[in-house]
Amino acid sequence: MSSGPTIFLVAFLGLSTSWLGFVLAPVLQIGNQGQVEAQMTGNLYPAMRSGLARQGEQVYKANGCVYCHSQQVRPLGFGSDVERGWGARPGRVQSVNQDYLYDEPAMVGNQRVGPDLSNYGLRQTNASFIYQHLYCATDTMPGSVMPPYRFLFEKRKLAFGEKASAEALTLTKDNEPGYEIIPTEDARRLTAYLMSLHQDAVLFETPPLPKPATNDVNGANAGKGSAK
């Protein structure tokens, strides 16, 4: 027992077991998923994001939005994600791996300092609201602790008689006359990404529940964590 190679062998055995079980086995099980036809609509799912939204994904990643916003809906009866309206599937069931196939990277998130964003694109379709929220979250949501992302916007001096451009922000306070605040390219990208977030396809693994009338928390369909 008293030799260096013994330590190495024991450690190697430990590591390879862990690797086989928790890295290789998951990849073998669900590593080959690809686009599938969604049930009911027949559309391919997940759809590739638009170019602007994919650039926005990089802005989301660079600014660490994931440290406060999750992108996963837990199953009905496990937490209150569905009751809070964060889910969008007709079956009111959880997110699945299929939803994230084209995410680079998949930012599932571990924290909910802010609300879940899995279906933000379905909840919020107004780009100018999102700009305003990014510029000053307390304006649109009093009491919010989201930091203002003023560095994603540009304060531009208006020439004499010039009208503010169409996408200039309409602020409730700090509105300086003669200036306009317009989103930068990064803000446009990020907003396109946020509006592209949706997890609403009905898939084989997320079937609609058969009896919508029993969808309450204590109902027959409230599978505790096993909605799959």
Partner: protein
């Protein structure tokens, strides 16, 4: 004195002279001098930077629009940058310094390939600098705990391998052949880090990465191995070396240590996926099983440390407090392991997932256990390799109390607040904004913990700079004296 803690195997007499002879402690210490000095100084720099960045991150919860005009100071960048500084800049680097010395001291041999270590130190720090700068610049990879971009990781890994090679060579060339339990833990930690880091980097950053939530699984596997095995084993190896060394009593005992080792590498290495994550259900089930199984080794750690440590008053104040760092560490270890075991269960994670409970417990492990144990090692090792004494024992005492109080005031409000937050989140009749406003109270309370820890770091840094200044000026004087003497003689 380190002889006293070697394994239970009977010690064979070693030749006092000849090629296999043990090397006197002073020479061993001198051979480690510059590598350890460099590692300690730069890791202290990273610790201070981590303190500043983490403080900036907490400030955002007091006043969200503070420093909001600069992209690189937004919460989503300073928070990961601070955590990376703490883990890669301080914990791993300072941990390596302690490992190098423990291997040289246990083996009664000089540090092998010391110049290689210095090159490795340089590359590691270049890599971490690029990595942290990359995160602040906006080049984060988006994977929690693995945020450093590729160009930083490449340098850091090459540097790490050089330092680890020197440590392994020192281990291999040991003159005292008996294996200590610290060898088991530290050798494994040395191998484990590049294994998991390259695996995770290969699967997430290079070429065609795994897709979908599997990325989250790899990330979680990496983080769990990084904390439980890499930082955990450096910390446990340090504890099992310094507690007996400072107490001048044999470790009680070697076989419990082996039990802890085997149990942890068998079960502590599983990825812990919270229930409800968009992955097949067996992931979280096995994760919970792994977490629950580590309760036994965590209790065994407490047993080993508390049955070995010496309460006796013959210890000097300095040694008593250095030992307290590691005793506190073992308590934090047991507490954090118990909390994550309970938290891995279905019922508990329904409440705590997505709340401040989990990060608070992670920090309890990383800071309360790993960093505190490493402080113990540094306080013991640095005066020896530099050939001096810390200028102020009082600062060591102050550092201990500040750090212990800091981790308490950081973790407890967030653990309690996290449970309240979780209940609020799970009750759909409470508006989200109300839940969020309620968590501000514990978050702001935890800033007190941050500030106490920051003050502790300052005490440590002051003491270290004092020690370095004193010993270096001493060395300089003697060198000048020697040089002048030679000139006069010639």
């Amino acid at each position: 004195m380190s002889q006293s803690q070697t394994s239970s195997a009977s010690a064979t007499p070693y030749p006092a002279t000849g090629c296999g002879a043990v090397i006197p402690s002073e020479e061993v210490d001198r051979s480690c001098r510059y590598p350890i000095l460099f590692l300690a100084l730069s890791s202290t720099g990273w610790l201070l930077l981590a303190t500043v960045l983490n403080f900036l991150a907490t400030l955002k919860f007091h006043k969200p629009d503070i420093l909001a005009d600069m992209g690189w100071l937004t919460y989503g960048r300073v928070h990961p940058a601070g955590m990376n500084c703490l883990i890669y800049g301080f914990a791993i680097q300072a941990g390596l310094a302690v490992v190098l010395w423990v291997f040289a001291d246990l083996g009664k041999t000089k540090l092998a390939y010391a110049p290689l270590t210095v090159v490795g130190w340089l590359l590691w720090n270049v890599g971490i600098t690029l990595g942290v700068a990359g995160i602040l610049y906006g080049d984060s990879t988006g994977y929690e705990w693995l945020e450093m971009p590729r160009y930083g990781v490449a340098f850091a890994l090459v540097g790490y391998i050089q330092i680890a090679l020197s440590a392994l060579a020192t281990f291999h060339l040991r003159r005292v052949r008996t294996l200590s339990i610290s060898h088991w833990f530290m050798v494994t930690a040395l191998f484990w880090f590049p294994w998991i880091y390259t695996t995770a980097a290969y699967l997430l950053l290079i070429g065609a990465p795994v897709r979908g939530v599997l990325q989250y699984n790899v990330d979680s596997w990496y983080f769990n191995n990084l904390t439980n095995i890499v930082l955990g084993f450096i910390g446990l190896g340090t504890a099992f070396y310094f507690v007996p060394t400072i107490s001048k009593r044999p470790l009680n005992n070697f076989y419990t240590g082996i039990f802890i080792f085997v149990a942890l590498i068998a079960f502590g290495t599983w990825s812990r996926i919270p229930a409800g994550t968009p992955l097949p259900a067996w992931f979280s089930a096995y994760g919970a099983l792994g977490a629950l199984t580590t309760i036994a080794p965590a209790l065994a750690v407490l047993y080993v440390v508390f049955s070995t440590r010496c309460r006796c008053s013959e210890l000097s104040v300095e040694h008593r407090y250095i030992q307290r760092f590691v005793v506190f560490g073992s308590l934090a270890y047991a507490a954090s392991t118990l909390i994550s075991a309970v938290n891995s269960t279905f019922w508990f994670s329904e409440v705590t997932h997505f709340t401040w409970f989990v990060p608070a417990n992670n920090l309890l492990f990383i800071y309360g256990f790993a960093v505190m144990s490493i402080f113990c090692g540094l306080y013991y090792v640095l005066p020896r390799v530099l050939g001096g004494n810390f200028p102020s024992t009082k600062l060591i005492v102050i550092h201990f109390f500040l750090a212990a109080a800091g981790i308490f005031f950081y973790a407890v409000p967030l653990l309690v607040g996290g449970i309240t937050q979780g209940h609020g989140l799970n009750n759909a009749s409470v508006p989200f904004i109300t839940v969020m406003t309620q968590t501000l109270m514990p978050l702001r309370a935890s800033t007190l913990g941050d500030m106490l820890m920051a003050a502790g770091h300052l005490a440590f840094a002051l003491n270290l700079f004092g020690l370095v200044f004193e010993t270096m000026s001493h060395t300089a004087t003697t060198t000048v004296e020697e040089l002048t003497r030679v000139e006069v003689a010639s």
